[in-house]
């Protein structure tokens, strides 16, 4: 363990952690303001906002010697005996001067800038700037430049931190952005004819410390102080990025990546970021209805539960399709509910949409080809009940062999069902369908029951990504009227007491299914690695292969 002093506070750290001055100070609870440094990008030390006094403590005499000049904290590796002074008059003056310089040319158009409210320039000016502006006011507008399908640049708002440039070089590997001209004339630009249209481009808006880069999807829609952020998980692919859902009055306005060193670091892809509008689509299925001789009969919440229960009990022989868009808890309750009525009911894994190949980026980010969030979790739940995981294609065959008379179909695919080749074969068998889905499909016409399902942000629960990391998230918004979250519906169907609590259902899952053992107890915001007990075995050197054998040994 090494020891450093930050404003007189002793910080213990491990030199192998490769901390820099900013991170070191953060451990002491001291904030060092910075623009250009970002934990996910290389260090350039160009903004000069993080200048501090540094010195070294002589281990023998205890004497501290400060360097005469101010040094950039982002470029100072934490080492034993390092002393940082971040609040002295000299440092404060340097910060105020940097702020003053940045604001000489910065347009004063905060009232119409989307970043206002979460802008570092605003925050730092308030905390570290001069009390009074000495330069004349102005300019009041910024030139605007279209630089990509999703991104627009407000040229004059830029403070030349170069985060965006480094991002396109280091993380997306596409290098569309560059700095043109020199000195006061420096500007961010693209090479003519090569707009920034890569799949990670949305991230440059998040990492821009000011409002220079704007997201066209979000531009001018809301002020950020109206938004409430809720932790969530992106359901657009099996990577399962941690995200924030920014919502105002039950309407999602944007999605942002949530830092998670084990999954997505600080980033997310455009496929996930701009997918949310389907949540508010007017086409969504709402309400519950049952086929009647002359069309449909609408059901309310209590009669739905009662009718479903009677219907299932009357049909006796059942089957279910468990969608990989269900949470672990919902999948478990669905399997339990079906098997409670018919202990030998076949359960199949719903369609797993696959598109192209995995897309990998130089910065380590990967978009999975599997476009669903919870295949692993649902597979393990099904395997727990029936010992294997049949794909949805086997459904007609299984239904025929079992003589099932009713099939519960959970869908919740944002883009609708990809494949329904098995539907004619199933229809021939004349089984009754219970469809719990987001959007109308060919299934609804043949269904006995059609029930509206919630979208990802409208339900709480856990997802297991393709690397076996389980993340538990709360609901971000309330579902539209007439939508029945699967968890609550099944909870009532099972005749359970009280309200549906995903957390306690997950504990039941973790106790009953060995794969989920690591999920016992509280789940941290970054999730838990369900392979962790297997890894312990692997590290002992007994088993290298992380297949099912090690599961049994672990």
């Amino acid at each position: 363990m090494a020891i450093a002093l930050v404003d007189g506070i002793v910080v213990e750290f491990d030199e192998r952690e490769n901390l820099n001055g900013i991170q070191l100070a953060r451990r002491a609870g001291v904030e060092i303001p910075h623009y250009c440094w970002h934990p996910g990008l290389s260090v350039v030390a160009s903004c000069r906002m993080c200048l501090v006094e540094i010195g070294f403590r002589n281990a023998v005499t205890g004497e501290v010697r400060l360097l005469p000049k101010l040094v950039a904290a982002c470029n100072t590796p934490a080492q034993d005996g390092l002393v940082l002074v971040t609040q002295s008059a000299k440092v404060q003056q340097a910060r105020a001067m940097v702020q003053e310089d940045l604001l000489l040319r910065h347009p004063v158009d905060c009232p119409i800038c989307d970043k206002a409210g979460e802008c570092l320039l605003q925050d730092y000016y308030y905390r570290y700037g001069h009390r009074q502006r000495r330069a004349p006011w102005g300019p009041f507008t910024s030139r605007r430049k279209d630089i990509g399908e999703k991104i627009t640049l407000f040229v004059d708002r830029c403070i030349m931190c170069s985060r965006c440039v480094r991002f396109t070089r280091e993380i997306s590997g596409t290098a569309e952005l560059m700095i043109v001209d020199r000195g006061n004339h420096q500007e961010i630009d693209i090479f003519p004819g090569f707009p920034i249209n890569n799949k990670l481009s949305g991230n440059v808006v998040d990492l821009c410390p000011v409002g220079a880069l704007g997201d066209k999807e979000f531009l001018y829609k809301q002020r950020v102080w109206y938004l409430t952020s809720h932790p969530s998980v992106c359901v657009q692919c099996a990577t399962g990025c941690s995200i924030w859902v920014d919502e105002n009055q039950d309407r999602i306005w944007r999605l942002r990546p949530r830092e998670n060193p084990f999954v997505n670091k600080w980033w997310m892809c455009n496929d996930g970021r701009y997918a949310y509008p389907y949540v508010h689509s007017p086409q969504r299925l709402v309400g519950a209805r049952r086929k009647a001789p002359d069309g449909w009969c609408d059901l309310d919440w209590s009669s739905l539960v009662e009718e479903l229960r009677q219907f299932l009990e009357q049909k006796e022989r059942l089957a279910a399709v468990v969608s990989p868009f269900l949470t672990v808890e919902e999948a478990y309750l669905l399997c339990r509910a079906i098997r409670q009525v018919d202990p030998r009911a076949p359960l199949v894994l719903g369609d797993v949409p696959q598109v192209g190949e995995d897309e990998r980026f130089p910065g380590g980010f990967a978009i999975a080809r599997e476009k669903c969030p919870n295949r692993r979790g649902v597979e393990e739940v099904i395997a727990h009940f029936i010992g294997r995981v049949p794909p949805v294609e086997e459904l007609p065959e299984l239904v025929r062999r079992h003589g099932a008379q009713a099939v519960w179909l959970s869908g919740e695919y944002p883009q609708g069902w990809a494949k329904l080749e098995w539907l004619p074969a199933l229809a021939e068998l004349g089984v009754a369908l219970i469809v719990h889905d987001l959007f109308p499909s060919a299934l609804c016409d043949r269904a006995e029951f059609v029930v509206g399902a919630p979208a990802f942000a409208e339900k709480a629960g856990s997802y297991v990504n393709r690397h076996d990391r389980l993340q538990s998230v709360p609901a971000a918004i309330r579902p539209p009227k007439g939508v029945f979250p699967a968890g609550r519906l099944l909870w009532r169907l099972l005749g359970q007491e009280g309200t549906y609590e995903p957390a306690s259902v997950l504990q039941e899952v973790a106790r009953n299914i060995s794969y989920f053992r690591a999920a016992l107890g509280t789940i941290p915001p970054v999730g838990v690695d369900l392979k962790v007990n297997l890894l312990a075995v692997a590290e002992n050197g007994t088993v290298n292969d992380l297949g099912t054998e090690s599961l049994m040994i672990g």
């Binding site: 158009d109 009232p111 119409i112 507008t141 001018y220 829609k221 002020r223 102080w225 109206y226």
Partner: protein
């Protein structure tokens, strides 16, 4: 705040009434004197609606809002949401969009004020960085439905058109009076007389009449 048990608490006893006071006659006489004095003094009530109360200074009166226009006749608001942020009654609802004009970035696509929820505090007027929203001196506000009382952008602009002569927008007032920020923090110079149109009763009645017409027009016009 004194804590219980500290010496700072002083107990005050009710003064006992004298025998004459206990008859209550002096108090009754005192009360009646007040009543009679007001019977014969100048009335401060008016016979509304035949007579109309006229606010002494319509410029600072806090009545129905208006949305000002800029020199080209476009809505002046830049859709910064600061008024709706400042509003304690949460009654301003704005939907912003990219402006169709080259010299402006952002403008309000939709701008509604729910007059039933508004408490006419004037915070919106104070918050606006471009003096686009102002409270006029129109006060007799009624409607046949709740929807009618939610004023939209057009209605608010219309109110500007009606009131702009009788109650000039703040910029023009400032231009007339001189700068607001006086160097050295001295008090502003005396306003030169009659530099803006006086709020004459006739102009005021015209405004009120047109406002009455507006109430008859269907909501959302």
């Amino acid at each position: 705040m004194s804590q219980p048990g500290t010496k700072k608490i002083r107990w005050v006893n009710e003064t006992p009434l004298s025998p004459i006071e206990r008859t209550y006659i002096p108090l009754v006489v005192q009360g009646l004197a007040t009543t009679i004095r007001h019977l014969f003094s100048k009335k401060i009530t008016v016979q509304f609606p035949e007579e109309r109360y006229q606010p002494p200074d319509p410029i600072i009166y806090r009545g129905v809002h208006r949305l000002n226009r800029d020199e080209k006749g476009r809505v002046k608001c830049v859709a910064c949401f600061l008024c709706s942020t400042a509003c304690p009654a949460r009654c301003i609802d704005i939907e912003a969009g990219e402006s169709p004009w080259p010299d402006r970035e952002k403008y309000p696509v939709r701008f509604t004020i729910d007059m039933l929820r508004c408490i006419f505090c004037g915070m919106c007027e104070e918050a606006c960085p471009v003096n686009a929203i102002e409270l006029t001196s129109l006060y007799d506000l009624s409607g046949k439905s709740r929807e009618e009382m939610v004023f939209d952008k057009n209605k608010l602009l219309l109110i500007y058109d009606w009131t702009k002569d009788a109650e000039p927008p703040l910029e023009r007032l400032i231009a007339a009076v001189g700068t607001r920020e006086v160097p050295g923090g001295q008090s502003p110079p005396e306003a030169p007389e009659e530099t803006w149109p006086p709020a004459d009763a006739a102009a005021f009645d015209r405004v009120a009449e047109r406002a009455a017409e507006a109430r008859l027009s269907p909501p959302g016009t």
